[in-house]
Symmetry: C2
Subunit: 323 residues, 2 copies
Amino acid sequence: MYSEFDLIRHYFIRPTTGTVLGIGDDAALIAAAGESELAISTDTLVAGKHFLADTDPRSLGYKSLAVNLSDMAAMGAKPRWALLSLTLPNHLAQENTAWLSAFSEGFFELAQQHQVDLIGGDTTCGPLNICIQIIGEVPKKKALRRSGAKPGDDIWISGFLGDAALVLAHQQQRQVLETSEVTQCLPALYTPKARVELGQRLIGLAHSAIDISDGLMADLGHILEYSQVSATIQMNAIACSTVMQKYLPQPWAIRCLLAGGDDYELCFTAPPENRKEIDMLSHELSISLTRIGKIGPGKDLIVKDRQGKPIIMESKGYDHFHS
Amino acid sequence: MYSEFDLIRHYFIRPTTGTVLGIGDDAALIAAAGESELAISTDTLVAGKHFLADTDPRSLGYKSLAVNLSDMAAMGAKPRWALLSLTLPNHLAQENTAWLSAFSEGFFELAQQHQVDLIGGDTTCGPLNICIQIIGEVPKKKALRRSGAKPGDDIWISGFLGDAALVLAHQQQRQVLETSEVTQCLPALYTPKARVELGQRLIGLAHSAIDISDGLMADLGHILEYSQVSATIQMNAIACSTVMQKYLPQPWAIRCLLAGGDDYELCFTAPPENRKEIDMLSHELSISLTRIGKIGPGKDLIVKDRQGKPIIMESKGYDHFHS
């Protein structure tokens, strides 16, 4: 039987490299570099809402951190420190050390890739709930915000959209994918790549950025709202996998592409004069960066299909209280 | 019907005073003062574990922040920023705006007292879970740690211990208190005073500090473990209310006093030469500060009763996975 303190010691204390004081006191202590600001955000994953209860714990540990890293990427911040608040049902904490062991392995695999120190957290007993806070450094006054988009900007996305939503539709038995298609799409759902380095490199190139967690339309919609601008995007310009291409333009696949969520890619806007540099960055980082439309005056978000006709959608994205 | 974004806007966006960028982007931005370190911690409150499901939402909002402020107090840090991750069952988010309204009022009442900006968070749907992160500033290399206690130090506590545990025992029908006693003890349970100013003033006076959340024995035990020292305390020196005095030395009352938890008072150690200054501080802040024992070499924690006999306890404090 593990006590709360044993649990923390056993699974979550690892050496830290850039921290004044890590886990073990009433608070952790960090010191930010002199000329930087700190970017701070938090994301919660709830069993049955954000993941199925029987999700592989290793990928859950990985993804819990990935979705938070994605917020740092969207600000252009370098992630440095994380806190992990785990609410665990007794059967996961006590009887099944394999669960916690796998969860922590997945978490630290990604943390180490990005040199993020786990500096604190909380372990409590209750319905499974994973709440992570992430803290990163960003050069003073340089953070990528939602509010910086300007008419004339190109709209870009990184990677491919919609695969996580496709495979989720299969898992929830709303659609049937072939086995090979499931295999191809699963990494997008379970081990999304947070575009951390890309985010930092977009400082000075992009006017605005957001990460796509609730779906392209919803998240681009935030940029429009905060920047007081409009957007027109071409659906067929949106980069997507061969699996997605097969199911387009069926309406359910269009929904996955535009409003599925769980993509954790970046959507950003940049002036046309930066196209060449952005293309070079795409090459250098081996990340697909695709122009999908333009920012304009006004406030509407128009998605055009292959024929240039606007696509009408009922829902623009994922709302935690309505789905 | 509120959407997630409406919810956040309506109840949780308030003007911030010391923040570069508050709620609304992928992350908040803060800038720490040059010669300070940042203290960061998080505490989660789970319905049915840390509070009864029908707890008044206003006091719940207050207490959720108070327990986090208490961690800042224990480090000697000045709390500056908070993030709030709320997992809410649908009936609280949608049908009962009175609940969220009262919760946010309680939260901001205390936040404003301490000039803490709410800079971010997350709102998700699921079993009620309140996860708060707090970030404070502390002068470089001056934070109060658990590891600084030295043989010869006096052991001090702030305030009165055990009242929250007394009234909880009554609420859980394990004991029966008189109505007037319940009234007297309820504030300790619902609106604990985080000793924020005291913590900051103890920098330079105390060698070590911790906040008492899991019970005096458990939390003082952490100081002993991290500092590699022993302690002897006199139970009858522990400051407590007239209600507690009435029920002592009954074993259940002793348990409330020594191991009840939820006190959110500070336990700290300081060299005897600082007694006079600490007494003056007690006077100035109108907070009871009481010497309850001494730090020694070795590693045991001995609590002596009125007759000088050691008190044997089965459990030293609250463990989230064993109670």
